[in-house]
Symmetry: C2
Subunit: 335 residues, 2 copies
């Protein structure tokens, strides 16, 4: 059974507002609040650039609001916990980041986000601000390969934001940035495993129920059904299952170079993720797949949910270039 909520918060109805205040302060001046809105923007934006606007529901910190910074998102539109930001927040955020070359909307493929970002895009087009959209859809558990773009976005978000941020700092046109980011999206695959539930701060209720000896492969970031519920397994067996699903999906092949990302869904230890990383590298070695770079950490959480996800992105020289650009934000920095 999922444990009862025991969170250090004040008024459960104000968690997002108070979190945003704390987030802006924690950035040491690198971001500012968009006045009057649950949205944030970089304070060091150049005068002219293609803008990258990210965003989505809160409660997944550091995603998205923690990924605003140099060579990452230029701004973020922040919804309530597990809820899409409203169109007016997105419009305000887009205007705050716009620097004359159009705005890329980059967010996870969920119905509420799609509806609200699309509505905002229409409103912005009426004001002659060009908007293009890339929805992140990396969760192989969410739909079969032939419906790849019906999939949910999960921790592949970080690699996508990193590439978008790098490309948008160097490329001159929105079209060029979209081309690179879409290529990244075509080549990214993730899957998660849930071990125990988190709880929603406003209600204290767990996001799902899982027995004491059960795990679920492919469960979504809000408790959406996965591909199999099963007894707790050793780390290597879990890694084998996850990698099998990812590798056969693109498919990844001998000679490929990949970015590897292991994401903590909240309460899992880095020790567990590193033990899993050891097995993942054995599998990749056996398949002749080379790891170009690795990120192991806490990037997309579901409150105190235990579990993790694995992401692979197949890279070419262009994707490597933008992924490897130094980036800095509260939730992710790497030189």
């Amino acid at each position: 059974m999922a444990k009862a909520a025991k969170k250090i918060i004040n008024d459960p109805k104000k968690v997002v507002a108070e979190m945003l205040d704390g987030l802006v302060l924690a950035n040491d001046g690198r971001i500012a609040r968009v006045p009057g809105h649950a949205a944030i923007v970089r304070t060091d934006l150049p005068e002219s650039k293609v803008a990258v606007l990210i965003g989505g529901g809160s409660g997944h910190e550091p995603l998205f609001h923690g990924f605003v910074g140099r060579n990452m998102g230029d701004g973020a539109a922040c919804g309530q916990v597990f809820a899409a930001p409203s169109p007016d927040i997105i419009v305000a955020a887009a205007k705050a980041v716009h620097r004359g070359k159009g705005v890329l909307f980059l967010y996870g493929n969920y119905a509420g986000d799609t509806m609200n970002f699309d509505m905002a895009a229409e409103l912005l087009e009426d004001e002659d601000i060009e908007v293009r959209t890339v929805r992140i859809a990396d969760d192989v558990a969410a739909a079969p390969p032939e419906r790849k773009y019906d999939r949910r976005g999960i921790a592949g978000d970080l690699l996508m934001i990193k590439i978008a941020g790098g490309a948008a700092s160097e490329l001159e046109t929105l079209d060029d940035v979209v081309r690179v980011v879409e290529k990244a999206g075509d080549n990214v695959r993730s899957i998660g495993v849930a071990v125990s539930a988190g709880s929603i701060p406003e209600t204290g209720k767990p996001t799902f129920e899982l027995a004491d000896d059960e795990i679920e492969i492919g469960m979504g970031a809000h408790g959406e059904a996965g591909v199999s519920r099963q007894k707790l397994l050793p780390a290597d067996a879990v890694a084998d299952q996850l990698m099998d699903k990812i590798l056969n999906d693109l498919p990844f092949q001998s000679g490929d170079e990949v970015a590897l990302l292991i994401n903590n869904l909240g309460a899992t230890t880095m020790m567990e993720m590193l033990i899993v990383n050891r097995r993942i590298r054995q599998i990749l070695d056996e398949r002749g797949i080379k790891v170009h770079r690795t990120d192991v950490g806490t990037w997309l959480t579901v409150q105190e949910m235990a579990g993790f996800s694995v992401t692979l992105m197949k890279l070419d020289d262009e994707l490597k270039r933008y992924l490897d650009m130094p980036a800095e934000s509260l939730g992710y920095s790497r030189m």
Copy 2:
């Protein structure tokens, strides 16, 4: 009641060995294993420098093993879960990082670590490798101010390692590095709050028991007794208590500039820490204390323990310089 352990591991007796394999691989070539030992070393060490060796028990990842990298630790000696590394591991790690200018041992003030690092220091002195020691002792809950150096080391570790790494990359002598790091140690204060227990991977047992509606202020990183056990409180009230204990200890005063660090002990959400950060900044503003830089994240964990700690370090220009140097490691990077 603490929940039962539900971890994604293989053989519980091999968690540290397998974790270290995964850790080395996750560093993308930036660190290497010291052959035959549970120790790691930077692969890009300059030919000549004062060396910084960190280390301690495993199970607190990313501390310490995740903090080896440029302008951070030069190497780490890694114990079993919650247990000090043995002297032979420390000796091997020290020899691997030594570059002719002596070695700083920098670790948390726990009896087992002190005994084993001291023994290793004696063995190294016999081989004419100069060693100096700074023990991190930042937990104000562990002993009264007059016995400051009897205190435990907690998340102040990160700031201390960062300053040591910066100083050792620039200063020419071990004496100079020790002087800076000791100054940092004199000026750092932390305290934590435990919300729920983690569990030990080898046994599955919780590290302590805390009722469903209780929290403990000042509890140590392994369940050591704190200063008060009490009912769950709102975030602002918790922040007030923690800050009161820290601020009055040094004491911090109007006009001081500080580094502020909020550390996730494992399963706490970034949302909670940011809500607390908001209140901490109100308190510091009222007291006329200026925040020079903030780090909010997961730095010193106790497996899946829920709770967090707050650290303040009073800075002067020299400490700012070394703290602000760009640093890169698996567990902490900032430009």
